[in-house]
């Protein structure tokens, strides 16, 4: 079979782009301002920034608007935009212990330093559609804000503070240690890798795994994290602490001075699991059980993602590949939303040549089969009884050509 180069579709593509723009605004509703999106679609934008691996709320809002609310497509645009900018700075390590906490809970202990702070969350709302929002007016918004502000008087004002970590209590008691995975404790295992600059190889250093998980797609992480909790990998942790808030970002300027440049909102999950100290029969007298954590951290408020990142961080350190969630390559290659979406959507691109090639093979096989059937019929003493009254001898030949016509 020869290849035939074709071209065309330029006008159709241009018209398709114009048409999708028409569908976005055809109802002539007032254009949505970016500031409105940024303010009122906070969680969607957080997800876009996390999966796009690019913290820029104003651009996240713009991307969301551009693609009619498709979060994954918006994350794709963010990651592409990110690739056009020079990276001039590397921050110092952010300090989540000094976070401006907006929410922090623990499901391991009731009483934690500073208390359980529910913060802004939909966890405790009833999942009932609020029809009042259908006619929400600016006056109603103002009235709510006034009422809300009045709840804090000058005397109630709290001084800015930070909160001690739950895991630090366990560590101080000697109950919490590192996982004890030998690969991760080696020099190569602890190396700081940037997966945007260095192709990943397996087994990957833990830094590469955490970076990939931090920009993975929430649904992908949740599916694999859930699989582990259900028994496929066996990591069913407890939330040591889940905190959401703002952390300071500092960089060195060209003179070497450390400069504060702003804050980013992050979600951090410390997932406590029991570390494996070997089978009971193999355990030495000095081998005592202890706890370790799986670590989750991502841009924005995205608790499901941070929790599942923590589960998978821990699962991938189990030292076996007995379940998908424990297998680095399986987890990391299949949870990057941009790559997965790109590959899935490439199926929509023309595959005319490869499909034609396959089709030719099928045609030849059908022809061979027909010839064989005819030869068998000629050499047989009596024609075999038809088992299917509705099928006729020509069906095998006709079917492919009918399918062909459809294609």
């Amino acid at each position: 079979m020869g290849y035939v180069a074709v071209k065309g579709g330029t006008d159709a593509i241009a018209n398709s782009i114009e048409l999708v723009e028409f569908y976005r605004i055809k109802d002539e509703t007032p254009p949505i301002h970016i500031r409105q999106l940024q303010a009122q679609f906070r969680l969607a934008i957080d997800k876009i920034m996390g999966e796009g691996s690019f913290y820029a709320p104003e651009y996240g809002a713009l991307a969301l608007k551009q693609v009619e609310g498709d979060v994954l497509e918006a994350a794709f645009i963010m990651r592409a935009f990110r690739a056009t900018l020079p990276r001039l700075y590397y921050s110092a390590v952010i300090d989540t212990r000094n976070m401006f906490v907006q929410r922090r809970i623990s499901s391991s202990f009731r009483d934690i330093p500073g208390g359980q702070i529910l913060g802004p969350t939909y966890d405790y709302t009833q999942r009932i559609i609020d029809t009042r929002l259908a006619d929400e007016s600016y006056e109603q918004v103002q009235a709510f804000l006034q009422q809300f502000s009045a709840r804090i008087s000058e005397t109630d004002r709290k001084a800015i503070t930070t909160f001690g970590k739950v895991i630090d209590m366990l560590r101080a008691q000697g109950l919490l240690k590192g996982v004890g995975n030998r690969d991760d404790e080696s020099e190569e295992g602890r190396r700081l890798v940037d997966i945007t600059r260095e192709a990943i190889k397996f087994p990957a250093p833990r830094s590469a795994r955490l970076q990939m998980l931090a920009r993975a797609e929430t649904g992908g992480l949740m599916a694999l994290g859930y699989s582990s909790m259900r028994g496929y990998g066996g990591v069913h942790p407890t939330v040591g602490e889940l905190r959401v808030g703002l952390v300071d970002v500092t960089v060195s300027d060209p003179t070497g001075r450390s400069r504060y440049i702003g804050r980013v909102r992050v979600t951090e999950a410390e997932m406590i699991t029991k570390a494996k100290t070997g089978k009971k029969s193999e355990r030495s007298a000095g081998s005592v059980p202890y706890y370790a954590i799986g670590y989750g951290l991502c841009f924005g408020q995205n608790e499901t993602k941070a929790i599942c990142m923590g589960i998978l961080d821990r699962a991938m350190r189990n030292g076996t590949k007995e379940a998908p969630a424990n297998d680095q390559e399986f987890v990391l290659y299949h949870t990057d939303g941009i790559e997965a979406m790109g590959f899935t959507n490439h199926l929509k691109l023309p595959h005319y040549v490869t499909f034609q090639s396959g089709l030719n093979n099928v045609r030849r096989a059908v022809a061979r089969s027909k010839k064989q059937a005819e030869a068998n019929a000629a050499s047989a003493p009596e024609p075999p009884m038809a088992t299917d009254a509705t099928a006729s001898p020509g069906d095998a030949e006709r079917m492919p050509s009918e399918v062909l016509t459809e294609l």
């Binding site: 691996s53 651009y59 900018l85 390590v93 709290k158 500092t250 440049i261 702003g262 804050r263 951290l297």
Partner: protein, 142 residues
């Protein structure tokens, strides 16, 4: 937080209008030379896990950077976001503060006032957040 970080914190977190107004008034006293106009770039944010302290890259953040000079004193402005005006103001104030001249008291007053506003805003937010602190009671106390 170091002193210069404290200053940056105030200038990054204060209302933009206050900052541009103040720097606009201040600028008339200096021969400012824009070395590098505000431009967008990236900061790679580094994090680490909280038990084994394994460092890793969390992702990048949009950043604006700018450089100005007053005679031979260079000022650098860096801030998160698409914030050309703020980055420019940060660079100007960085250069002016390095001179430590007659404008220093006015700058100190401006910083103190902005810090007060920022603290008020953050304390208000934290106070609302702390209203969501769980008050556990034993069942028989309920």
């Amino acid at each position: 937080m170091e002193q210069n970080q404290r200053t940056d914190y105030i200038l990054c977190e204060c209302p933009l209008d206050n900052l541009t107004g103040f720097v606009g008034d201040l600028s008339v006293h200096y021969p400012l030379n824009l070395l590098k106009a505000p431009r967008l770039c990236l900061t790679m944010i580094q994090a680490e896990d909280s038990v084994e302290y394994q460092p890793f890259y969390l992702g990048e953040a949009l950043t604006t950077t700018c450089e100005v000079a007053i005679n031979k004193t260079v000022g650098y402005g860096i801030c998160l976001g698409d914030e050309p005006e703020r980055a420019y103001c940060l660079a100007v104030l960085d250069a002016v503060m390095a001179l430590n001249d007659a404008q220093a008291p006015a700058i100190d007053r401006f910083l103190a006032e902005q810090l007060r506003l920022i603290q008020h805003r953050e304390e208000t937010e934290l106070s609302h957040i702390m209203r969501t602190k769980v008050d556990f009671k034993l069942m028989e106390q309920a």
